[in-house]
């Protein structure tokens, strides 16, 4: 055992839980970046221990709307970064170029037709995937709303358009322990980089209840979780915010309960 290294073993533990500060933190990070395999291994071991700590707590399922929102966001980027697509385009260009230079007119037309079919197929698949995801999401929303309406405790709260969107209307189907379902109409689509954010209003500051968008027709819906501890809610409001949402309202209010 290298006793001269023992102080670093303790510092590695403090660093792993994020508590090392000041000069010691800078010195330890310099020591690490200088290449200390023992400290790197110790840190890795501590991080696995902290992951095991997380596993030792009973799992808790997050609200389903998180997965829906993420799937939509990831879907938008996934379509833009498929490596096979650029490979396909490059290959198709090479094939057409070769055909041109060899004067094989028929072959070129055939390749062009194949390329066109491939592009149409790819576009159709993307469209179908998008439509299926949207339909599944819509179905889940309507099922959720129907489930809520079966319970006599459930309330239906009307929302009225304000300021920039006086024509907008909305309804919230609200259950204090099961959560709520929001439906809006006549709300203009949010500008790029922005989204609508729903707020629940009780005694204290408004609490965020998730971001959502509307379609080109101004229609939108959004499922959201109950307030922690099933606390009563006095009202609901919707503001225009950055697309990732914010913990406290900053933008203009577009809808609010009467």
């Amino acid at each position: 055992m290298n006793r001269g290294h023992e102080p670093f073993d303790t510092l590695a533990a403090v660093y792993a839980v994020g508590a090392l500060d000041g000069v010691e933190r800078r010195e330890f990070e310099a020591h690490l970046s200088g290449g200390c395999p023992r400290c790197a291994a110790t840190l890795s071991e501590h991080r696995e221990t902290l992951a095991a700590l997380a596993r030792s707590v009973p799992p808790l399922a997050p609200p389903p709307e998180v997965e829906v929102a993420l799937a939509r966001r990831v879907g938008a980027t996934a379509r833009g970064r498929r490596p096979w697509l650029s490979w396909f385009v490059a290959t198709a260009a090479a094939v057409v170029g070769t055909a041109w230079f060899t004067g094989a007119f028929v072959a070129a037309r055939y390749e062009a037709w194949l390329g066109l079919m491939a592009r149409e197929s790819a576009a159709l698949r993307v469209r179908l995937e998008r439509d299926a995801a949207a339909l599944n999401e819509q179905l889940a929303q309507y099922r959720g709303a129907a489930d809520l309406l079966r319970d006599p405790v459930t309330q239906v709260v009307a929302l009225r358009g304000l300021g920039p969107s006086p024509e907008a209307t909305g309804r919230v189907i609200w259950h204090p322990t099961a959560g709520g379902q929001l439906f809006v109409a006549n709300l203009p689509p949010a500008p790029p980089g922005k989204a609508y954010e729903l707020w629940t209003i009780a005694d204290a500051a408004p609490r965020p209840a998730g971001v959502f968008g509307v379609d080109a027709a101004g229609l939108g819906n959004h499922r959201f979780a109950p307030v922690e501890g099933g606390k009563p809610v006095k009202g609901f409001a919707i503001t225009l915010e950055p697309e990732d949402g914010v913990p406290a309202p900053t933008g203009p209010m577009v809808l609010a309960s009467k």
Binding site: A13, V17, A19, P247
Partner: protein
């Protein structure tokens, strides 16, 4: 479990949306309790969870299996994002962690009724307290030392012993 998670991250790095969905299904219920434990507010915790998985999707190509398991990678990310959220809240004046002069103030996760602590409950009280404040509350060793009026060395030793004990517990289960 580890191999599956690492494989999913590799596929996410190539833009595989199905892999992302499976990755989410595999780990969301693991990190969500940790985030709730830190931010103590479910609506805010769902915001943080979205940020964590969005970041995992965007940074999947940076994941290095040699440096740790997918769980450790994601748990570290979730803790950081959750602490950033409560620090931002603290800046707005909603103090969650009291000052050193207020011994009754608690950090996120500390002594909350009904909260499941998992393996933390297997630690001696003194070790559990410092680990809670550091790991879930985001306090530094100096802040913990001031809060408990204990020497810095004592705080460090308790953290090291707590991690060693947790490792024993993890290996035994």
């Amino acid at each position: 479990m580890t191999t599956t998670g690492a494989d999913l991250i590799r596929r996410m790095a190539t833009g595989d949306q199905v892999a992302f969905t499976r990755f989410y299904d595999l780990y969301a219920s693991l990190v969500f309790p940790l985030i709730v434990h830190i931010v103590r507010e479910r609506a805010e915790a769902t915001h943080v969870l979205r940020e964590v998985f969005w970041e995992a999707w965007r940074r999947a190509s940076k994941y290095d299996a040699a440096r740790g398991s997918p769980e450790a990678w994601l748990v570290a990310r979730a803790r950081s994002r959750a602490l950033e959220r409560i620090r931002a809240r603290r800046k707005r004046g909603e103090t969650l962690v009291g000052s050193a002069d207020d011994p009754s103030a608690t950090a996120p996760g500390a002594e909350e009724p009904g909260v499941q602590h998992g393996a933390l409950d297997r630690l001696p009280e003194t070790q559990r307290e410092v680990l809670e404040l550091a790991y879930y509350g985001g306090l530094t060793q100096t802040e913990i030392s001031e809060r408990f009026k204990q020497p810095l060395g004592t705080v460090r030793t308790r953290i090291r012993l707590a991690l060693a004990r947790l490792r024993e517990v993890a290996q035994a289960t």
